[in-house]
């Protein structure tokens, strides 16, 4: 199982590299913000450990709740802020496309 997961890990690294290395400079800030939101997926880790924990101490429950709060802030805030940024680009798609082609 572990080796399978490592294989997934390695492949995901290459996929991430391939997908993202094509982003134009202009979109780097939204990209950083968007990927930042995606690593908020750690919220799943918090949910799983808290959900499956049989006899967690109060301290551990507290820690995991904070972890879920943090993860949720990361996800919700991250996607919203990225959306706000990108909305500004949306109104003028055509000129940007042009600009893009000039760069190539």
């Amino acid at each position: 199982m572990f080796i399978t997961n490592v294989a997934i890990l390695v492949l995901a690294g290459f996929v991430g590299y391939a997908v993202i290395s094509k982003v134009p400079n202009t979109l780097h800030t939204p990209l950083m913000s968007g990927t930042n939101a995606i690593h908020g997926i750690v919220v799943l880790g918090g949910i799983i450990v808290l959900g499956l924990g049989e006899d967690l101490s109060t301290l551990d429950k507290g820690l995991l709740m904070i972890a879920i709060v943090f993860g949720t802030i990361n996800v919700v805030g991250g996607f919203l802020v990225t959306d706000r940024m990108l909305e500004m680009f949306k109104s003028k798609p055509a000129p940007v496309k042009q600009d893009d082609e000039e760069q190539k």
Binding site: M1, F2, I8, A12, V15, I20, K22, P24, N25, T26, L27, H28, T29, S33, G34, T35, N36, A37, I38, H39, G40, I41, V42, L44, G45, I48, V49, L50, G51, G53, L56, S57, K61, L63, L64, I66, V69, F70, G71, T72, I73, N74, V75, V76, G77, G78, F79, L80, T82, D83, M85, L86, M88, F89, K92, P93, P95, V96, K97, Q98
Partner: protein
């Protein structure tokens, strides 16, 4: 009764696996949408839907409990997250990203801590669980505290200049790393005392603080990007420990993208990532710069809004060079109005965007897009640099280090070799600046002492507005 239950169990775990596959496909598809402005908004939303699916799938895991606590935490997180993302000003986005990144790292460290407590140490866990968990704990903790320092510096709660222990810094950081790794090794070899995980977390926290504190504000974008990548990697490690493919894939994609971004940014500044992490940049530079300025004894020429307006009104080409000062002053709309006013007078207006102007790559593009500046006027460094010699007026709005000619000429300067905008080649330069304080890198800008440069002191927004009203009055 038991047979249908058994089938439903099999189905639920398969369903979760399928939903996770759907989720990370959506992440990848969404991110590839982010590569084009046309598809970017949709791409981000697709990734968000993927996240929703991943969370829902996790709810289906068999034997889950503590629902009340989970939902309370999810709701609190949402209540905090939505308004902070809604209300943050576009200028403050970099520190917001730093903060969101930090809490992600914090979550990872807390999960590892709770797992350690729950199983009373990792003695009876396989190494394939222990190593990723402890890696995640160390890196998550470094990322949390480092990001908070980055936030505090950008928010100007802490001074932007480097704070450090000088020569002792590197040995100190190394010592902290050794303590963290040492505690990890002790835990892996079967030590179950809580003190080990606490020492590990505290040493990593201090490491995060001490690595970021000595880094000058100018390098902060690179640091945030690096911490973003690190949080991604530790999320992937948590995924390995928990055997959760969604975490592995999503975390690793972020790890890969953050690494690329970090390298791109470091390249733009002609700095190597290790030398940035080594920190101290700007502290020593401040001294060099200060001495240099003293020797120069150069004088600075101040100008008025009226003079600046006249100069630009009769120019053929004006190049606007925005920097963080424009962001701080929220001057992008005022700048746009000034540009329209100039265009009415048949002055050609272009914007020169340095790759690391502002606090993040693309920061200036975001702000100017907010103010409806047409994209074809935004020129990247390589495109605009040959133009400066044909430019009558270069209007530098709150940009500093990216215009410093010392980067080309003074091999003693800490920014020597960094590609800059060759503003000093234009016929005249007007610099809008709050004061003569040096930039985030903490070094004096020789540009200000050049004969063709004049300075207009004041808040960028009101200065630009003043120039515009002088222009309309002409």
């Amino acid at each position: 009764m038991s047979a249908p239950l058994a089938t439903s169990l099999i189905h639920s775990s398969e369903l979760i696996a399928v939903l996770y596959i759907v989720a990370f496909s959506l992440f990848i598809y969404g991110l590839s949408g982010l590569t084009g402005p046309r598809t970017a908004v949709r791409g981000n939303r697709i990734a968000a839907v993927g996240m929703g699916i991943a969370v829902l799938a996790t709810f289906l895991i068999d034997g889950m409990g503590n629902w009340v606590l989970i939902f309370i935490a999810l709701i609190i997180g949402t209540i905090i997250g939505i308004p902070s993302a809604r209300s943050v000003k576009m200028t403050a986005v970099p520190q917001m990203v730093a903060l969101f990144n930090g809490v992600g790292g914090g979550a990872i460290a807390l999960i590892a801590w709770a797992e350690f407590n729950d199983s009373a140490g990792f003695a009876d866990k396989p190494l394939t669980f222990i190593i990723p968990s402890l890696f995640a704990a160390i890196v998550g903790s470094v990322s949390f505290w480092g990001s908070n320092i980055a936030f505090a510096k950008l928010q100007e709660i802490l001074p932007g200049h480097p704070i450090g222990a000088g020569r002792l810094q590197q040995p100190l950081n190394l010592l902290l790393l050794l303590i963290a790794v040492g505690s990890a090794a002790a835990i892996a070899s079967g030590e179950t005392a809580t003190v080990y995980i606490l020492v590990l977390l505290i040493a990593s926290a201090l490491l995060g603080l001490f690595v970021v504190l000595p880094i000058g504000g100018a390098d902060m974008p690179v640091v945030i990007s690096l911490l973003n990548a690190l949080t991604g990697l530790s999320a992937a490690a948590t995924g390995l420990a928990l055997n959760n493919t969604a975490l592995i894939v999503a975390g690793m994609i972020v790890g890969a993208s953050g690494t690329i971004l970090t390298r791109l940014m470091a390249d733009a500044m002609n700095r190597s990532i290790p030398s940035i992490i080594a920190g101290g940049f700007g502290g020593g530079g401040g001294e060099v710069g200060a001495e240099g300025a003293g020797e120069n004894g150069g004088t600075v020429r101040a100008t008025s809004a009226a003079d600046a307006a006249i100069q630009m009104a009769f120019a053929r080409q004006v190049v606007i060079v925005p920097g963080y000062g424009m962001a701080v002053a929220q001057a992008q709309h005022a700048v746009r109005e000034l540009a329209s006013e100039l265009e009415k007078r048949n002055v050609e207006v272009k914007y020169a965007i340095h790759p690391v102007a502002g606090r993040m790559p693309g920061h200036m593009n975001v702000l100017l897009a907010e103010a409806d500046v047409p994209y074809d006027q935004l020129k990247e460094m390589d495109e605009i640099n040959p133009e400066f010699s044909r430019t009558d007026v270069a209007l530098v709005i709150g940009a500093n280090d990216v215009t410093n000619p010392a980067a080309n000429t003074n091999s003693d300067s800490p920014i020597y070799g960094m590609p800059i905008l060759n503003v000093n080649e234009s016929k005249s330069v007007i610099v809008l600046k709050r004061s003569m304080n040096p930039g985030f890198a903490g070094i004096e800008n020789e540009l200000y002492f050049e004969p063709m440069t004049s300075m207009l002191f004041g808040d960028a927004k009101s200065s630009v507005a003043e120039i515009t009203s002088e222009l309309t009055a002409l």
